[in-house]
Amino acid sequence: MKREPPQSIADYGPLFFPAGMLLVFFVVPFGTMIAVSFFQRQEGGFYTPAFVFSNYERFLSAFFGGVLGFSLMLAITVAVCCVVLGLPFTYLLSRLPRRLQVIWLVALLSVLSLSEVIIGFAWSTLLSRTAGLSNLLVAIGILGQPVALFPSFGAVLTGMVYQALPYTILVLYPAIVRLDPTLMEAARTLGSSPIRAFFNVLVPALRNTIMATLIMVFIFALGSYLLPQILGRPQHWTLSVLITDQAIYQSNMPFAAAMAVFLVLVTLGLVGLTLLIGRKGEKA
């Protein structure tokens, strides 16, 4: 059957439903958010429709710049950690017998059924002084007395990597399984060590997948607001935490919307830049 280019409006029919859903559930809410970000905040009340820039002005300060910078840095770190852990893991997984692969994948999928709240509270218990992992280290004589490992940056990072790792592996898995196994065999035949072959053959062959995974985890991590609250100190709170504070606790919707719009723009900008650099690299 030959594919013909669409002739009439009716040929585009199948697109109407998804386009409608996208319009109703994404474009309209997002448009509302942009509109609200220009509304006038009524202190001690809610907001009135207007067109003012004061919400954006308030955001443009060294303080919020610092919070935004930290959020981006945290999300990038989470993305890099996930790929660094996930890539070798998924590669080794793809070489296991089929049955073992299925068991591993089911176990990983089950992590996705845990809510962020459960993950946060579980890690806060694991890292606590009174009941946490450091007690095990005391028992085997490595530590003198139990210590609290949270709240700290390490705790936030651990929780977020734990949460994002299953997604990372699920995205990497199909690409790695489909990769031509003769590539690695050829490298080995030509005398390359397994580690060298991994870095010189597998990683470059998967460059686009790795890039896509990094971007996906980055965006996923950027929206996190619960884990930084549970596992971090205030200086580890992300911009998403402050957005929640403004929207839910200060009833300052315009400012929350302005911050959210800013976060989306910066994210899109960074992703665009990454893709642009990737394309240039390919041409060279």
Binding site: I230, P234, Y249
Partner: protein, 362 residues
Amino acid sequence: MDNIFKKGVSRRTVLGTGAMAAGVLAMPGILHAQDKSLKVGVYGGYFKDSFDKNIFPEFTKATGIAIESVAEPTGEAWLVQLEQAAKAGAAPADVSMMSQVAMLKGQTTKLWTPLDTAKIPNAKNLLDRFVNKYPDGGVAGIGAVAWYITLVTNTDVYKEAPTSWAAFWDKANADKLGLLALVSNSFLLEITAKTFFGGTNALDTEEGLLKAFDKLAEVKPNVRLWYRDEAQFEQSLKSGEIPMGQYYHDVTGLAASEGHPVRSTFPKEGGVQDSGCWALSRASKKVEEAHIFINYMSQPSIQATLSRKVGTSPTVKRELLDLNEKEFAAVSSDIEPIIPRYDLYTTKADWLNQKWTELIVG
């Protein structure tokens, strides 16, 4: 062939969408079917459970009005939801228990239906400060319950109860405190002003507020956890992970009575007294039922039951209650309470929030 097939799909999709839309439009009809009932918002968790068990069934028995209780989140989250819903003409709850800051914010947008005190004869039982009024004298809310935020400690870690809020500033307590994370629910500015600057009047001027912020900055190294979620702190307090902090007197008392090693202390400067009002959303149609409900809840006997079963402090005058000395002491204190400066959280809300966030995050 290909073409016809595609057309078929699109027509079916359109029909399907139409049917779905019709279904959605028909749904509000189902919701209107109930009668002689009232949706009441109370704080979720322990509060709602206690009301469901000890208060609401008796009310239904006495009046024939069925109560559907709705778990509302603390803070101003519920206010935002009520306001957004009212704009669309809906009321997720008819009557809600609202904290003072939320009451005042709702008053500025006329979210609360003015109450008719002629239909609430028991309102005269209340202490004056628990009746919220609009500037024109209309009643916006009637005091439901009052509660205290006090100085709490883990009894295993602190054998002796601390006597003053100044314990928060003690260098010996480094990394041991759990404090509320928001300026408008922790009331730490008021605590600072009362403890070090002679009273909450010190917060009248911007200069005074900045002085309080500076003093409060000294507490930061002692704080392990700034919590929004109560469960987060309560668990850590019980286990001794975070052995000191500010928390609610009623819930701490309950935990202690269940055998957990915790205690709640009224410091010599006083506990922070906050209160919740019953308020009626302007989108609600159940005005009659709401007045009957609020009148019922304002009876001294119901207020006494609340003190005994829920552990809240009564909003009606002390002499009308049949609580004995011990029962009254369990939910209140003779030490003059710190009354939050609610006015600041409406007139200077954004400035305070900005300074506060910079203080704890920066």
